[in-house]
């Protein structure tokens, strides 16, 4: 029997899917051949896969209601450490190095937030600034190239496989371990979570670690894609936020948080970006459109914030 609550749940889940499908239909109809061109589709896939990986990690932090502005900065720092500090690192070590640095930064953020009680998005802002300053000074006079073995990976299947693996792992950790589930409950009511026996601080640290780890993976993907360090590495903070919101992630976290939001949102935002460029829209105006979409979604989602935790 379909109950009122179930129907409401169904509708709020379906909206992002419908949006994505509509967007794709519009893109095919108006973009035609240039949208469906193999090169363009490959581009969409590469771009969305990196965004998706970052967003999967960010979903863990947003589940408990914090804004994650550290993901782009973490990516940048992971790349600086791997390519510049560990100059001449062997190809095989680039990936584990990126992962380790990303996770380390995530854990550090977790401790700043839980032990020293600094607001998460302030920490994120600092890391973002820190990263862009370091990137600027390191890339100012010198170019840092990735080991050749890493650059060889720049093939569509690589992005697809990594992205797929991260999404599956994300779903498993989010839906079937306490890390995701507890963070959602903390997002609903932190007090009640703590008084129900949940070790709130521990699971907050886990969520930041997850975000850092995903940023590390994304840093590796970016290294493969760009073949080296550039001053504009990172810059994913706002895009992940918009992508997750498009995908249906509530800004306050809680029971409606999901990995699905990262997947749908990253795809939708990339397609939107792509079609706007194909239409010949000025790059600055693309940002205006993204801003408007974000504002509209925030307005909608702040009006309906209810649902379930364990799906």
């Amino acid at each position: 029997m379909k109950k009122k609550a179930d129907i409401r749940q169904f509708i709020s889940t379906a909206v992002p899917y419908i949006g994505l499908v509509l967007l794709i239909i519009i893109s095919i109809a108006t973009g035609g051949k240039s949208f469906m061109a193999a090169k363009n589709l490959r581009n969409i896939m590469t771009q969305s896969s990196i965004l998706m990986v970052v967003a999967v990690g960010t979903a863990f932090v947003m589940a408990h209601g914090d804004m994650d502005f550290a993901n782009g900065g973490t990516m940048g720092l992971a790349m600086v450490v791997t390519l510049a500090l560990c100059k001449g690192i062997p190809s095989w070590a680039v990936f584990p190095m990126c992962l380790a640095v990303g996770t380390f930064i995530g854990v550090a953020i977790g401790f700043l937030v839980t032990r020293l009680r600094v607001v998460a998005f302030i920490v994120g802002m600092c890391i973002m600034r820190l990263s862009s300053a370091i990137l600027y000074t390191t890339t100012n006079k010198k170019t840092w190239l990735a080991p050749a073995g890493v650059v060889k990976l720049n093939k569509p299947w690589f992005y697809l496989m990594v992205c797929l693996g991260m999404v599956i792992a994300g779903i498993v950790f989010f839906e079937f371990t306490k890390i995701g589930q507890y963070n959602k409950l903390i997002g609903v009511n932190r007090n009640a979570a703590s008084l129900s026996g949940i070790n709130v601080n521990k699971y907050l640290v886990y969520s930041f670690a997850a975000s850092g780890l995903c940023a590390g993976v994304a840093a590796f993907m970016t290294t493969v894609r760009t073949g080296g360090l550039s001053s504009s590495t990172g810059n994913y903070e706002v895009d992940t936020l918009i992508a997750l919101t498009i995908g249906g992630m509530p800004l306050t976290g809680g029971s409606k948080a999901s990995i699905r939001a990262a997947v749908i949102g990253a795809l939708a935002l990339t397609v939107l970006n792509n079609i706007l460029v194909l239409w010949g829209v000025n790059a600055d105006f693309v940002n205006v459109v993204k801003g408007m979409v974000f504002l509209t979604l925030v307005l909608i989602s702040s009006r309906q914030n209810a649902g379930q935790v364990t799906g």
């Binding site: 609550a5 079937f176 609903v188 009640a192 008084l195 129900s196 070790n199 809680g254 649902g307």
Partner: protein, 503 residues
């Protein structure tokens, strides 16, 4: 009744619907001068809707009111107040960031017009005068209202209601939020009204209180008028029967009058607990199958004690030890692992995940049960939640319904379900029946007895002495954060004996 002469307020054939819900149906009543009238009924019986129509905050769909011979059709709460009928609400009605005096005269600033806007001196003087009248001299008109605790804020609201010198005062479940002392203030005001031959409508859940405060009581059930009773008839059993619609309810509290627990087996021991200045050197032992009652005023520190026993505080000194395995409890996580349950006084903000399903609320303690390798077992969690909802008889459309949509009693059942799902052995229940109607209250008492019989140990903290006396094997009285006295279950134990230690 000694009520002579014409009624002051006549309510005739009042009805109010909210969509398909018939909140009040064809209710009539007459209120006499100098009368304190109780208005009782279970949650959803229509008593608050009825009082809201009388005080002007809701418009009736049908029916008329006559006040002192004239038709009475208030347009708003302020209009009703100006015409002589004022209401005291259950929820908090003061506004943070404003002073006590500003809160008292909100909407009536014109009375204090000075040359430049509001004349604060005049306002503060008047506020002081009113606060003095109700015996609340410790509240200062110029202070921000935030500086005061809940009880004192309530008194500020009382002052607001009394400023217009109303002829009829409606007290809507105000006292259930107050401690003994706060209640005493309200009772004084009611006595004063009676002395001046004015009338009071008193709405409440606590039937003993109704019996003491009111001259007569009108019972509502499912939005309909049931009866008005007075004198001998006004006893809790009769009232309860009328409210539920059954005369014979059987037992309510425990029916045995002997302390009955395993004296030799201590399950939880607290030694010399100190926390800030709220808990002072408290030691206690909980035995197997014991219901240990703890009572005191709301600011006695007993609510903090409950949290401290559950490991929610970083104590200044002292230890809480679980005797089975001799483990010290230092965090809530550990307390839950050791099968301790905590049911807070403030359910909504400390125990429930409101905009979340009943299923998720109950299964929050079950993430480690029947794991599939490293992964959680959602099917098992859903099954457990379903079982608890069924055995506790939670009234809901499905376990996917949101907890926020449930009534107070059913919310409490969800909280109980959450701990039963974890097979808790020790339950710390802080005000387990607060804001719960009589029918569900009886079910909760029943449940506590069942848990005791099943070998569980219970610490029951409450501000309602009657329920602690009615349920506990052993009883501790807390005052100023310290244990002031201990009583064993006994037929002769009365509230009076406890009050002496409490105040």
């Amino acid at each position: 009744m000694e009520n002579s002469g014409k009624p002051r307020l006549i309510v005739e054939h009042m009805s109010k619907n909210f969509g398909i819900v018939k909140a009040v149906q064809d209710v009539s009543l007459e209120l006499y001068a100098g009368e304190v009238r109780g208005l009782i009924g279970e949650n959803g019986s229509g008593k608050s809707t009825l009082s809201a129509m009388i005080c002007g905050s809701l418009k009736p769909d049908e029916g008329t009111m006559t006040f002192d011979g004239k038709a009475f059709r208030p347009k708003s709460i302020i209009d009703a107040r100006n015409k002589g009928i004022a209401i005291l609400l259950q929820e908090r009605g003061t506004i943070d960031g404003m002073s006590v005096a500003e809160n008292m005269f909100i909407g009536m600033e014109d009375d204090f017009k000075g040359r430049f806007g509001v004349n604060r001196d005049k306002m503060h003087k008047k506020a002081k005068e009113i606060l003095h009248q109700i015996g609340a001299d410790h509240i200062h008109p110029a202070d921000l209202v935030n500086a005061y605790k809940f009880e004192d804020r309530k008194l500020v609201e009382v002052g607001r209601a009394l400023y217009t010198d109303p002829e009829i005062l409606i007290v809507d479940e105000t006292t259930s939020a107050l401690s003994l002392q706060g209640r005493e203030y309200i009772y004084n005001i009611i006595r004063d009204f009676k002395k001046k031959n004015k009338s009071v409508v008193f709405i409440g859940h606590d039937l003993d209180e109704i019996m003491h405060v009111c001259d007569r009581a009108t019972v509502l059930k499912d939005g309909k008028y049931v009866a008005t009773i007075s004198g001998e008839e006004m006893n809790p059993a009769k009232m309860r029967g009328l409210m539920i619609g059954r005369e014979n309810l059987g037992h309510y509290y425990r029916t045995d009058f002997q302390p009955d627990y395993n004296e030799k087996e201590v399950v939880l021991r607290a030694e010399h607990l100190n926390y800030k200045s709220v808990i002072r050197d408290v030691s206690l032992e909980l035995h197997k199958q014991e219901i240990l009652g703890v009572c005191g005023l709301s600011d006695s520190g007993m609510h903090d004690l409950a949290k401290a026993l559950f490991g929610a505080y970083k104590l200044d000194s002292g230890t809480v030890t679980i005797m089975n395995g001799q483990k010290a409890i230092t965090s809530t996580t550990q307390a839950v692992r050791e099968k301790i349950a905590y049911l807070p006084k403030d359910r909504d903000s400390e125990s429930l995940f409101m905009h979340t399903s009943i299923k998720d609320n109950i299964s929050v303690t079950c993430f480690d049960q029947k794991k599939i390798g490293p992964l959680i077992n959602k099917r098992h969690m859903k099954r457990v939640a379903g079982q608890q909802a069924e055995s506790l008889n939670i009234r809901c459309s499905s376990i996917n319904q949101l907890a926020a949509e449930l009534s107070g009693g059913n919310k409490q059942k969800v909280v109980v379900g959450k701990w039963m799902a974890n097979q808790a052995d020790i339950l710390i229940m802080d005000c387990p029946t607060r804001g719960i109607d009589v029918g569900v209250k009886a079910a909760i008492y029943d449940l506590i007895c069942q848990m005791k019989a099943a070998g569980k140990s219970i610490i029951m903290l409450s501000e309602e002495m009657a329920e602690v006396i009615g349920m506990a094997d052993r009883l501790l009285v807390i005052k100023d954060g310290a244990v002031q006295g201990e009583f064993l279950r006994d037929k002769t134990l009365t509230e009076h004996m406890l009050v002496e230690k409490i105040i």
